[in-house]
Symmetry: C2
Subunit: 229 residues, 2 copies
DNA sequence: TCAAAAGTGTTGACCCTACACCCATGG
DNA sequence: CCATGGGTGTAGGGTCAACACTTTTGA
């Protein structure tokens, strides 16, 4: 009885589409898959699923990311709701999230299972429906976020080198960054700790590993620090 | 047949909740109303409605704003989707938009019809469900947007004085702004045109009216200019 | 020994901030 | 004539961007 006003209203399928981002070979990558069912079977698609009645939307997104990557330790943020009438065959409202994951933790067996691949954001193919727009919106949002929070660490493992971190930011902003200025800024923020070991994979000289100081990092996030570049 | 995969999925009521903002008496105001039906009948609520099958979400929001204000010339931007399981009695997913309107155009007869009022954002009462969180998120977003786009003009009429514009920005940022610095920045952006007349309502001396140059303004929006302050 | 990437400081330009007094006018 | 809000400029500090050479070491 309390809900009488709610009767006779239209109801909708609600999906989540996840832009799952990882960092590899000096570039941001997004996980996409061949769509396994009609319509547009075989087209490239973001990883998605339907929201179930017994979970909230963010939980759906987390579930979807877990399902397709095997990773549960993720950074997740909502991009928005996409509700064009003709955006799918049925009337489906999609809520889009982007997820930042450490690509090293990806369960590669799932790639075959779902016919999924990591594609450089600079080389994304045509995706089904409005998925390309979702990606564009996400990149804009990510750039915005990265300029305010040191969010990029979510894409890396526990330790990383400064050249790697720099190329990550270059990939996010899609433009080159001055090496000395980048280091200066990062190091003066005082959230990085230099380690003893070097990474010798990419140069003879080797680059020192760093890790970030979780406490100071969280502190800065709290304050909403302006981290431009 | 094409849609077989879509069968047996849960469907949801989808609402739009609108944070309708206007500027009056040196403060941002939000239009809220007494909820006319159960549950929580009589509680303070944002202006909302359900999405219909034959309209996209943004159209729903525009419809809702028009319905409750009589204004159709609005700036509208999505805040996000709110989908907690227990956020309403029924499982309702809400998509939130904020609207910036010229409060002078408000059809006051609608205030009585819907038991609605404009309340200063600094004096909002407890709202139903998660509406207070929606407002908080919106203010954060608005501050963000206002620092990047000269968005505030949507809250004013065709002409306005610099003191008014300043107090609008002070209301958005919820902190005082230096008069000279504010003017300097605005005027050097070269999107304002000084008019002949003065507004003598608030002082003996009177303040010159300005209007904004729509072309340059749109041009700047395009470029995504950084308009800090 | 040389190629290839890592690491390191300084300077000038610009922008942001802080700050105080005169002006115009209606009552 | 005076109280009230409108209008105006400058100087110092800090931040950002540009820029080139040395170091290390595996091949």
């Amino acid at each position: 009885m309390t809900a009488s006003f709610y009767l006779n209203k239209d109801t909708f399928l609600v999906a989540v589409d996840c832009i799952i981002m990882g960092f590899r070979d000096n570039d941001l990558h997004i996980l996409i898959a061949r769509r396994p069912f009609e319509p547009l079977k075989g087209g490239w698609s973001l990883m998605g699923g339907f929201v179930n009645a017994q979970e909230n939307i963010q939980e759906s997104a987390k579930r979807v990311v877990g399902e397709y990557t095997g990773i549960n330790d993720i950074y997740l943020e909502q991009v928005g709701a996409y509700g064009e009438i003709d955006r799918d065959v049925e009337r489906v409202i999609s809520v889009v999230y982007y997820a930042l994951v450490d690509i090293e933790k990806f369960d590669t067996s799932l790639a075959e299972k779902y016919d999924a691949r990591w594609i450089r954001i600079t080389q994304l193919p045509e995706l089904v429906f409005d998925h390309n727009k979702m990606v564009r919106d996400t990149i804009k949002l990510l750039q915005q976020r990265a300029s305010v929070k040191p969010i990029g660490f979510n894409l890396l493992g526990d330790q990383f080198t400064l050249p790697t971190l720099q190329s990550l930011y270059e990939s996010i902003y899609q433009e080159p960054i001055d090496k000395r200025n980048f280091r200066k800024k990062l190091l003066t923020m005082d959230i990085l700790e230099k380690l003893e070991e070097k990474d010798k994979n990419t140069s003879k000289k080797g680059a020192f590993y760093y890790k970030y100081n979780k406490e100071k990092y969280d502190q800065l996030i709290q304050q909403g620090l302006h981290f431009s570049l």
